[in-house]
Structures are given as C-alpha cells and as structure tokens.
Subunit: 201 residues, 2 copies
C-alpha cells in the first residue's frame, strides 16, 4: 500500500485488518469443515465481514483460498538447519508429516491441494506457494554443497522435491498411510541421490 494522505481513515490499515480477519476465518473454516464444507457464508459469519464484501473482493471460495495461500507463502518458515544434509532432509520430511498430522493445519493443507485440483486461481496460488517453499528450502542444499556433502551444481529444488514427494504421493494419489518410516525413507533416498551426484542440473 502507498502512504495514506491526510484526512483519510488509514485505508491501508483497515484493508490489511480486513484481509487478515478474512484469512484467519478462511483457515479456521477449512480446518473445521474441509474443502467440501467451505462456504463464503461460513467465512462471513466467522470474520464478521459482510458476504457482499467477500464476493466483491475475493469473488468466492476459490479466491478466498488463493488469498490465504498467498499470505501463507510470504510468511517465514522454519527451514531446518541441523548441520548435515541427511539431518536437514529428515527434518524437512518430518515437517510435512507433522503438518498433515496436525488436527488444525492438516485439513487446511489438504483443502489447499483439493482446491487446486478444481480451481485455476487456487492452483496458481498453490504453485506459487510451493515455488516459494522450494526457494526457502534451497538453503539446505546450498549449505550441504558448501560443506562438500553434495557436488557443486546440485539442484536444490530437486533435492527438496524428492525428499517430500513420496509423502504427497501417499496422501493425494495412492491413498496410503503417512508415517515416520515413510518420511525417513523419502529423506534418506533424496540425500543418497544428491550425494551420488544424481540431482545436478
């Protein structure tokens, strides 16, 4: 937002407050009802923001979800830094595992992927979210290369993809249970492939 001129009622501040309230309501509704039960009415009731405002600014459920994802992508994220590539990748896969197991964040994360399967706007927001996560997680691989654990030219995003992809595959494709052993195998495999120089660009 640009600075508000004199005489205005801090439009930037008010807009930001409404957006934050709507986003909080969106996340709470998704956590409680999942994507199938997510409605503009629910967000209106929970946020206290009128339905017509929600439709005007966010155009509907998919716009609300896309905006929540945009805000999530910009937030700081605890990129693991354990001192080894293997440790970092295990911690990274562990973050995905605990995120989906959490009764609050799990349904929201599932809803985001479900929304992307149906709405181009939600899909764009989800893809931007993952691009940002890959960028943030790249530090893990940059440090590993600096320590000599993986060869120069190792593609950071590819290492990250391989460490987490099997978890998403189980959840959204094959429908198999996620557990610590599955997360550990995905991390160990990604680490071995990176060390062997199989993931260079």
């Amino acid at each position: 937002m640009t600075a508000a001129g004199p005489g205005t009622v801090r439009p930037g501040g008010r807009t930001a407050r409404i957006r934050a309230a709507v986003r909080a309501a969106t996340l709470a509704e998704l956590a409680e009802r999942g994507y199938a039960g997510f409605t503009v009415d629910g967000v209106a009731a929970r946020s206290g923001v009128h339905k017509t405002t929600l439709y005007r600014r966010w155009s509907g459920t998919d716009g609300l979800i896309a905006d929540a994802l945009d805000l999530a992508a910009g937030e700081p994220w605890p990129v693991p830094d354990t001192g080894t590539l293997d440790g970092d990748l295990h911690a990274l896969a562990g973050l995905v595992l605990t995120g989906f197991a959490d009764p609050e964040t799990g349904p929201v994360a599932r809803a985001f992927v479900q929304a992307a399967a149906q709405s181009p706007a939600a899909a764009r927001a989800l893809h931007a979210f993952f691009a940002r996560r890959h960028e943030q997680s790249a530090a893990i691989v940059v440090r590993a290369v600096a320590r000599g654990e993986a060869p120069a030219g190792t593609d950071p995003a590819e290492v990250v993809r391989l460490a987490v992809a099997p978890l998403y595959y189980r959840l959204f494709v094959s429908g198999e249970p996620l557990d610590q052993a599955a997360a550990a195998r995905a991390a160990a495999a990604a680490c071995a492939a990176a060390r062997a120089g199989l993931l260079t660009t």
Copy 2:
C-alpha cells in the same frame, strides 16, 4: 457373474456389454471434457444407455469414474523388463510421463486424481488402482533382488513409489512441468536408494 439359468436373456453378457459401453463412454467423455465437464448426460448420450439406468446402477458421475478405475485396475499392464533395475525404473517413470503427455490418456488420468480429491468412492477406487499397480510393478524389484542389484528385503512398492512420486508431485502439488529429465532423475534416485539398501522393510 454366476452362470445364467435357462430362459434368461444372458443377463451376464448383456450386463457386461452395457458396463463396457458405459466405461468406454466415461473414458471418452473424461478425455474430451476433463473432470470439470464430466456429466451423466454426456455419458448417456455417448453410450446410448439411458440416464435413469446410469443413475440407478452407478449413482452418478463419481460412481461412473470409480467403475472405470475398477476396470482399469484389472487390466494387463506392460511392466517394464529391460534386464536392469535402473532400466526398468527409467521405463516405469517413462510410462507415467508418456501417459500424462498423451492427449487421450492424460486428461483421463488427471480426472481420476481430481475425482479422488472430491469423492470418497472415487478415492477408494483410485487407491485400489494404485495398490494393484504397485503389486504389478513389484516384479521389477523381485527380479532386481534375484540378480543381486538390491538387497533382500527391499520393499518393492516403496521403490516404485519413489520412482514415480516426483512426477505426481509436479503435476498435482507444485504444478511444475513434467519432462524426461525429471522422470530420469526420479528413476535414478529410486534405483540408487534401493541399491544402497535404504528401502528395506
């Protein structure tokens, strides 16, 4: 089907023919319109089977998709047999890649995953489909263990999951392009992990 008694009008044969026609129409509709444009009316028009019959036997779009998946799961599938684990896993990832790139099978495969994100019946059918694919592909790993390429106790399904999961992750989660290089890296990484004994049960 059990054998038909005398005097019946070959109910098994007729039922099977209708099911096959409905399934062919379901696949053609999904290929042409995707999941978003898939309707019972479309399947009725294309198959020549009356809409009320479709609703009565398949209950709706998700039942039609689930039945098409059930039939697909039972079909023979060209499990690669190149003589090496690395070759087989590259061929396996290549099958996924070309399946999604194909203008006929690609939209159908995408529609199956999208349907599973929204319908419990489609999800159950998709999970059974992948369980069957994992079983069929297990031969790749059984042969590799017999050749001494991977240690005894290597989990066949886990090797297969790791070889294909990064492709599904790009398609349905991060929204990144699929290409031959991505498929090759996924296969090479799964192979390296199996050889290193990281995927034993």
